[in-house]
């Protein structure tokens, strides 16, 4: 059972109150311009990161809002949660696994979608 901090309610609550919202920062391609490959990538292909994973959660039985989360998918430790539209905060305590094989490095921050 994860303990997740809702950045809107500003409180840590059990996972049961939340719904997982999938990988974050997926940007829908322009329907007038996108190729088959771009659509395929958007619809089906995922980073599936082993290590620091950027994802969304929804405080389903709380405030009902979606928010962003960085979580280590090896230890399941939640590094930080933050509101939509906010720039990703720096993770103050890096993953104990950082630097070991198989852990993806942090991707460059392009700013998370509101």
């Amino acid at each position: 059972m994860l303990l997740i901090r809702c950045p809107y309610c500003e409180t840590e609550r059990p996972e049961l109150e939340f719904k997982y919202g999938g990988e974050g920062r997926l940007v829908r391609p322009d329907p007038n311009a996108a190729s088959d490959e771009e659509w395929t990538d958007f619809l089906y292909f995922r980073a599936n990161t082993r290590g620091r994973h950027a994802e969304r959660w929804r405080h389903a039985v709380g405030c009902g809002r979606f928010f962003n989360c960085l979580r280590d998918t090896v230890s399941d430790r939640i590094m930080v949660t933050y509101r939509f539209g906010e720039k990703r905060p720096e993770d103050s305590a890096p993953s104990p696994l950082a630097g070991e094989g198989g852990v993806a490095p942090a991707t460059p921050d392009e700013g998370d979608r509101a």
Binding site: D41, F45, N48, R50, V74, D76
Partner: protein, 416 residues
């Protein structure tokens, strides 16, 4: 050494002290004709069929841990083939046809027990979906039949068919040719048979990089036990597929989730079949040791932790206690998780990748064990000839671009 009555008798006379190692543990050679990454049932089996049916003599199987230590050793051992689409029926049916003779084929007892797999329907919608599956299965010659609640209880006497429970049983789909097999034996049997045919099985050897030549084709692997040259690599690593394929810059339509199972204290025989319910995320069978083997649904989030939330198994046990009131005071001994690689259409991916010489067999999600012999056999064809076997052709990676998906979300049986 061949297992036979005579060999057992001879060993009995010497107090069973003379059994040899079942497979060799060689040092890696500098180069191989082809290499398979991942020594689970699917990978070891592929190496076995490559050696036996395609004459590949200089091949190796690598694993970062010990063989059979991933999902092969963590699943709930269910074997069935009652999927919806013809392409699925062909691929799972290919495996189901191989199970009954696999012990003889490998000279190793995989304890295949076709005791019947019963999928419970709890609603009008379930009934519709299952009857559709039954009709589709019968059209392609796969046995699958509809049972009333009373017939379901006759087949599995400990089933609760009281219409007043939270999720009443309104019927069931029964595949009598399905059942269970001994998961570890499948890995060990393939390892032993492949090793006897000259396949090098290299354990505790993790792949660190995939080398490519100037044209972009695979030229070798860098591992924790040194660099090894090869022109063909098959990646069969289930939950870690995205991680290994990223070494060659290949993205995949996969997400890895924890899938949990648990096992009870041993009981006398109480359960003659496998019962599954995807509506309430639970399935159960009884092992030959007497333990109740129980499987849950996946956790909600991407994770490589090989564990999962206790609330997932807790809700599974609530469902089990309602379906099987006899289990309400049974103690659970162990609970564990595996990491399953799920695709958007819940069907596997077998075949080529955009990188020449790099092949993948993945995406079996929550139900790969049942397919082990068939998957291995088809992937061996892909690895040895470079082209997909006709049965595996619909399961290409390219189907996500062409939208020729094989949607088995209902048949997958595990909620995710």
């Amino acid at each position: 050494m061949k297992f036979s009555f005579a060999s057992i008798a001879r060993q009995a006379l010497s107090g069973h002290q003379g059994w040899p190692e079942q497979w060799r543990s060689p040092e890696p050679k500098p180069a191989y004709e082809a290499m398979i990454v991942g020594a689970g049932g699917h990978g070891l089996g592929a190496a076995y069929y490559m050696a036996k049916e395609h004459g590949c003599k200089n091949i190796a199987v690598l694993d970062k841990g010990w063989l059979g230590g991933g999902n092969t050793g963590r699943n709930t051992t269910i074997v069935r083939s009652n999927y919806l689409w013809e392409a699925s029926e062909a691929i799972y049916g290919h495996a189901l046809k191989m199970w009954p003779t696999l012990s003889q084929e490998l000279n190793y007892n995989v304890m295949f027990s076709p005791r019947g797999v019963m999928l419970l329907a709890h609603s009008h919608h379930d009934e519709f979906a299952f009857k559709r599956h039954i009709h589709a299965n019968r059209l392609v010659g796969t046995a699958n039949e509809w049972l009333t609640p009373a017939q379901a209880k006759e087949f599995c006497p400990i089933l609760n068919i009281d219409p007043g429970i939270r999720y009443p049983v309104v019927g069931a789909a029964l595949q009598r040719t399905g059942g269970t097999a001994r998961h570890d034996s499948v890995a060990w049997g393939y390892a032993r048979a492949a090793s006897a045919l000259g396949v090098d099985i290299i354990e505790n050897c993790e792949v660190e990089a995939i080398r490519r030549d100037a044209s972009g084709a695979v030229s070798g692997l860098e591992t924790t036990r040194g660099a090894i040259a090869t022109k063909r690599v098959g990646v069969v690593v289930a939950g870690n597929t995205s991680v290994v394929m990223a070494m060659a810059g290949v993205r995949l339509p996969l997400e890895s989730f924890p899938l949990q199972a648990l096992i009870s204290e041993p009981l006398k025989p109480v359960m003659p079949c496998v019962v599954m319910s995807n509506t309430i995320h639970a399935y159960m069978s009884q092992s030959d040791k007497g333990e109740l083997v129980i499987g849950a649904g996946t956790d909600a989030y991407v994770s490589y932790s090989q564990t999962g939330g206790l609330h997932i198994v807790s809700s599974t046990l609530e469902a089990i206690c309602e379906m099987f009131p006899i289990a309400s005071r049974v103690r659970m001994m162990r609970n564990w998780g595996g990491v399953v690689d799920t695709t958007p259409d819940r069907s596997p991916i077998i075949g080529k990748t955009p990188v020449p010489g790099l092949f993948v067999n993945c995406g079996w999600g929550t139900g790969g064990f049942k397919a082990t012999p068939g998957s291995a056999h088809l992937f061996a064809h892909q690895m040895a000839t470079g082209e997909p076997h006709p049965i595996a052709a619909p399961f290409s990676l390219d189907r996500f671009r062409t939208s020729a998906l094989v949607n088995e979300a209902t048949a997958a049986a595990v909620a995710h």
